[in-house]
Symmetry: C2
Subunit: 348 residues, 2 copies
């Protein structure tokens, strides 16, 4: 067997704590990677800042740190419009990194930066997988079970056709099978009731597409099913998915505020909550799922992983390992086969 070399571009200027968290993440990848994994990381961004961070965090001079640095003058901020990289900031780490990837100089691109900008730039530069109408972004939600629920789309596509929803289901199922190890992931269609007759025309049509597919389709699911784990993959339009994702991210804040005002009432409460803090932190951490993982953009001709702006070094590390796993498992090829060979895809 040929030993493949993996090249991953890391957008060193992406997240809110860039390049510190990115550099720490990269260092820990080299500390924890299997010995036989032949990996090169291409750090892209402001060279001075990257070198400073490397000096700061790589004090004991890891010998096996196999990286190169490519300087990029500009930075895409979180407030920039999604199309800015394509229109104006072609010297940004985001654009240059995705360009390298699309030209075949790297196998994957990882960023904790502006999701919309990564999505639109990656879609234009790398193009779509054969059979895919619209790339999609998913997000993981914690559940009562061992596995999280993958909800997609969470913002890439506001207006969706039934066919898009079907494609999201196919891509999500393949991802869940390959990356979470679920054999026949259960797919639910997000709706406002379980009956087959619920929802608008797009949902009614999507229901029939999913029903006649070879996916493990559960039928319609409701808002409450996202967290209860009854489905492994939940499909919705990007408007609803985005609103829910942002709502979910804000739940913790409210809890923390309420608990804090309880703690401030008297010393007994303060002590009680201090004792419980480690447990609550753990419960809360699970809720902040996206901070610890990163999610792929599915449907583009490439391996692009995006993370939350607040991605920790551990999250960056996980994103890099996920990118490698996605390449190894050839998920894009599986998506192409599923969407070009199915009866559905030729009929619709």
């Amino acid at each position: 067997m040929d030993k493949k070399k993996f090249r991953v571009v890391v957008d060193a200027m992406g997240g809110d704590f860039a390049p510190m968290n990115e550099i720490q993440g990269v260092i820990s990848v080299f500390e924890s990677k299997p010995q036989d994994l032949d990996l090169e990381i291409i750090l892209i961004g402001n060279e001075n800042k990257i070198r400073n961070s490397l000096e700061q965090f790589n004090k004991d001079k890891q010998r096996n740190l196999n990286y190169s640095i490519i300087h990029a003058e500009e930075v895409i901020t979180m407030d920039d419009e999604p199309t800015i990289a394509l229109k104006k900031k072609k010297n940004s780490s985001l654009y240059k990194g995705l360009e390298l990837h699309s030209q075949g100089y790297a196998d994957a691109f990882v960023s904790a930066g502006n999701t919309g900008a990564v999505l639109s730039t990656a879609t234009i530069l790398s193009g779509r997988i054969n059979g895919v109408s619209r790339p999609t972004i998913g997000s993981f939600f914690p559940t009562k079970n061992r596995y999280p629920t993958l909800v997609l789309d969470v913002g890439a596509n506001i207006d969706t056709k039934a066919r898009y929803l079907y494609e999201f289901a196919v891509m999500g199922s393949i991802y869940a099978t390959q990356m979470l190890g679920l054999e026949h992931p259960k797919v639910g269609l997000l709706n406002i009731g379980e009956e087959e007759t619920k929802g608008n025309d797009v949902l009614l049509e999507a229901y029939q597409l999913l029903k006649s597919s070879n996916l493990n389709f559960l039928g319609n699911v409701e808002g409450r099913d996202i967290l209860n784990g009854s489905a492994d993959v939940i499909i919705c339009d990007g408007f609803t998915g985005n609103v829910i994702l942002k709502f979910a991210e804000s739940v913790l804040d409210l809890f923390k505020t309420k608990l804090k005002s309880f703690a401030n009432k008297n010393i007994f409460n303060t002590i009680l909550l201090a004792l419980l803090k480690p447990a609550l932190k753990k419960v809360f951490a699970e809720f902040d799922y996206q901070k610890y993982g990163g999610v792929p953009i599915l449907g583009i001709n490439g391996v692009v992983i995006i993370g939350h702006g607040k991605s920790s070094p551990l999250a960056i590390q996980n994103m890099i390992f996920k990118a490698i796993e996605q390449i190894k498992k050839d998920i894009n090829k599986k998506i192409e086969i599923a969407l070009t060979n199915s009866i559905l895809s030729t009929n619709n």
Copy 2:
């Protein structure tokens, strides 16, 4: 000043714990109502069950219990289709009660039953307020502030036009002003970004309608703004609102499961959580807002309050008092004036 007599129909067969919670709620209304409030409650439902519950919960024979009972043979279940009362179950407590109300024999109708059935039946029997295109249902979400956020629509209208969204905003603002005492309630349009250019055509048009209205319009808000209290009234289509409402209702379950599994780890954890239980209960209770209040259907020619199926006796009591307050404040007249006199309503 004339002293008005209030007649409120209570659907005694509505909630999951009917008629027990309904009867207890009614009894506590009479126990806690101001002396000068002239109130008659019309209990509608299975007469035997109602009498049994009254006997059970009114042991000390409240003298001032001013009620009458109207027997209704049929019951609408939570699983019944929204149109069932209109099509088949005209002898149900829900249909007969709403009919009494629409014919003027009662000032208000209160039910913890099937929301969809109450909505469609009330809309047909009572009709819409002049100027209202579509009745709407709102729901309260807890916030970090003193006041909850009123989100509407949460399920009455899946597909909305810009004009409907505008009307929801007007109705929600009037409700928040009158019932929560907010002077210029801040109105937000739920979207997936704050910029004026975000969203589909309906949202773009609604944004302009709201911007040129005399409402206190904040602009677009995102999923995270529902709980952070930045807006008092948040407007969205009924699909998104319903998914969020059900998602929000499920958040507690997940927290409880996670905390329980933490408590089960060792005796120290068990004790910690037992000590913290009262506090958590209070925080959680606030999250379960709709269980404690009840929400109005806004836009129909009548005063109809619906509650969560799990409404407690206290919730039923609150719903009855809210109905009376809504009558007193003549909210429907204010909605009619706002929606028939505005420049917008004549132009659109």
